[in-house]
């Protein structure tokens, strides 16, 4: 994590290069800077310590956990991890999540790009209506839709199946994707499109070989947001996917947590939390720069 922190390019962008030492601050500056650092350090501690504590506890036996929240484990074993992965089914939930999120992400990116492209660059009656209803879909709480959705999926025979969940994920990630990419496709220059048509490319070819590749930065940002959003989705699977074999990670965790209380297998619970956090931690650290950039570019246009 420390390697990432040293490249502080972003926070120097608004200022001229520093000259001379840092000791130019006045007495008031020192006081303010001390206060700022104290507050920021306190916040960082509040953020990090729970994670570290969970990591530590994940190696302890349940007796050790019950005995003291601070004690170190007598032996560092991965027994809890094995228990969480196989016995509690975290491994299976993990696999389900990868399948569901992977498929949903691929489909929603393709469909979203297609829809956004047509809405952004073609004029036809109903264009604004479609766009505005997408925006409305972004605002309305899913809770209003959840009961009818349950029965729609049941009528299609898709309730409690992974394809059903994938379709629902796609549908509810679509408005955000379209909204974000819409503004992106709008900024692409008309000349490129004209040139492609001039060279004899049809609409299909123009989209897939010219426009879509140009939208790659925007696609990447949306994909990251959609990945996190879908990976963390909770209500949709809990309501629409109640077959334990098809559980995704988030609902599996919730179920496991409520069972762990009875079986007093707290070590496995902590291990399961670590297993859930590590993949997103890895994704986060790899894409951290891009993610922060996307927050800026995308969400609040």
């Amino acid at each position: 994590m420390t390697t990432l922190t040293t490249n502080g390019a972003a926070d120097t962008s608004t200022e001229p290069p520093r000259r001379g030492g840092r000791a130019t601050g006045t007495g008031g500056d020192v006081a303010v800077s001390t206060t700022s650092h104290t507050l920021l350090v306190i916040w960082s501690v509040v953020v990090i310590v729970p994670f570290l504590w969970v990591l530590l506890s994940s190696f302890k036996t349940s007796q050790e956990i019950l005995a003291s929240p601070f004690s170190l484990p007598a032996e560092w074993s991965f027994r809890n991890y094995a228990a969480a992965w196989t016995d509690a089914g975290i491994g299976r939930f993990f696999l389900n999540t990868v399948v569901v999120v992977g498929c949903a992400l691929a489909i929603v990116m393709l469909l979203g790009a297609m829809c956004a492209y047509v809405l952004a660059r073609y004029r036809f009656p109903g264009n604004r209506l479609i766009y505005n209803s997408m925006l409305a879909g972004l605002t309305f709480p899913i809770f209003l839709a959840i009961v009818p959705l349950f029965f729609i999926l049941r009528n299609f025979g898709l309730l409690n199946t992974l394809p059903g969940l994938i379709l629902t994920y796609v549908a509810f990630a679509l408005p955000f994707t379209v909204f974000f990419l819409h503004s992106f496709f709008r900024t692409l220059p008309d000349e490129i499109y004209e040139a492609a048509v001039m060279d004899g490319a049809g609409e299909w070819r123009t989209f897939f070989q010219v426009m879509l590749p140009m939208a790659r930065p925007g696609m990447a940002s949306v994909a990251i947001f959609n990945f996190l959003g879908l990976w963390n989705q909770f209500l949709l699977p809990v309501a629409l996917n109640t077959n334990q074999d098809n559980y995704v990670l988030t609902q599996g965790m919730a179920t496991f947590a409520s069972q762990a209380g009875y079986s007093v297998d707290f070590g496995a619970l902590f291990a399961a939390v670590v297993l859930t956090v590590v993949p997103v931690l890895v994704v986060y650290l790899i894409f951290q720069r891009r993610l922060e950039g996307s927050v800026d570019k995308g969400t609040f246009r």
């Binding site: 040293t6 502080g8 972003a10 926070d11 608004t14 200022e15 840092r22 601050g25 303010v32 800077s33 650092h37 507050l39 920021l40 960082s44 509040v46 953020v47 994670f51 504590w53 969970v54 956990i65 003291s68 601070f70 979203g112 829809c115 047509v118 004029r123 264009n127 604004r128 479609i130 766009y131 409305a136 879909g137 605002t139 209003l144 959840i146 009961v147 009818p148 549908a171 408005p175 008309d190 049809g202 609409e203 299909w204 996190l228 990976w231 963390n232 909770f234 209500l235 809990v238 309501a239 988030t250 965790m253 939390v273 859930t276 956090v277 997103v280 986060y284 922060e292 800026d296 609040f300």
Partner: protein, 331 residues
């Protein structure tokens, strides 16, 4: 009604420039596939459930039998006398007041410190090590909300939790076995804290990006005029990034009116004496445990109306604040 509508550039102006072309097969097939495919899914799984919900809310449907009677607004009158639901509404209103406000204040404070909070000599910059603080504080955003809830449920645990362990270790023995989530006085504040903890990172990064868009000359001018840090934050930063704050407020409000994931992780049954019960939890309970689908959908309608109302209030307040700022600038 829609949050983002006002901030998007008007559509037809740009599209209008393009000439209308002949409708060839290539073009027709392209439009058909590109529009029909996504829209089918959207209409089937998003639009139609919302529309159906409005009808179901006025029936006494129990879900698994095909017959349902149209009962008009009966469900809503019943809701007005449903003490548990009213309690949930109160909790949600409280959440919608406290969580967005505190989150935004903390996020703004962090963002200000890491961007413009640095020394008053030299260029406008943040405190040292600001990248480090940004990476750390943004991280909870990447963790599933349910896991955030589960982690904190363990931290708050009376006997083996980290919090009571720390408090008793520093000599506050009164907190021995104190049930943070099981006491009516602390359950709600503790839950709010968890939600704020989970949200601050994302919004501080958002505000960092917004503040970077403010011209540095404004800060330099304020400094020459002798404005202190607090004054600068209130008179320069806040008005300059007002749109971002407003949008953040609405997103956080939606989150606070939902709050399902967090509450489900911290107190699945609604907390001591329903202290942390939310509308979403009650809706889920009534629909999928009790099978009263019509009644539950009516709750969904209330939730949706409150969400839109919240957005409308934020917009109105934002507009009034904007008007006042302009007025004082002219004077």
């Amino acid at each position: 009604m829609t949050i983002t509508l006002t901030s998007t550039p008007a559509g037809p102006a740009r599209t209008g420039r393009r000439r209308r072309r002949k409708l060839t097969f290539d073009r027709a097939s392209f439009m058909a596939v590109f529009l029909v495919l996504p829209l089918t899914i959207f209409v089937l799984f998003v639009v139609s459930p919302f529309v159906q919900a409005l009808y179901f809310a006025m029936t006494d449907w129990s879900g698994f039998s095909p017959d349902m009677a149209f009962v008009g607004l009966d469900n809503f009158t019943k809701l007005l006398h449903d003490d548990v639901f009213l309690r949930a509404v109160r909790n949600n209103v409280l959440l919608a007041i406290v969580v967005p406000f505190v989150t935004i204040v903390v996020a703004l404070a962090i963002a200000t410190m890491v961007t413009v909070g640095g020394p008053t000599k030299g260029g406008i910059r943040g405190v040292r090590g600001s990248s480090f603080y940004r990476v750390i504080s943004f991280f909870p955003y990447a963790v599933p909300a349910i896991v955030i809830g589960l982690i904190w449920a363990q931290v708050f645990d009376p006997a083996r939790g980290l919090l009571n362990g720390v408090l008793t270790a520093v000599g506050l023995d009164g907190f021995q076995d104190f049930p943070w989530l099981g006491d009516t006085a602390t359950a709600m504040p503790a839950s709010m804290f968890v939600m704020i903890w989970g949200c601050v990172g994302f919004y501080s990064v958002l505000f960092v990006a917004a503040i970077k868009g403010v011209p540095a000359e404004l800060y330099e001018a304020a400094r020459l005029d002798g404005a202190g840090r607090m004054r600068t934050a209130m008179a320069i930063t806040l008005p300059q990034i007002r749109d971002n704050v407003q949008t953040a407020y609405i997103y956080l409000g939606i989150l606070a009116l939902d709050a399902f994931v967090y509450m489900q992780a911290l107190n699945p049954s609604g907390g001591p004496n329903y202290a942390t019960l939310t509308m979403s939890q009650e809706l889920y309970m009534v629909a999928f445990r009790k099978g009263q689908f019509g009644y539950a959908t009516a709750m969904g309608v209330v939730l949706a109306v409150m969400t839109l109302l919240f957005a409308a209030i934020v917009f109105t307040v934002g507009r009034v604040a904007a008007g006042r700022a302009e007025g004082s600038a002219r004077r």
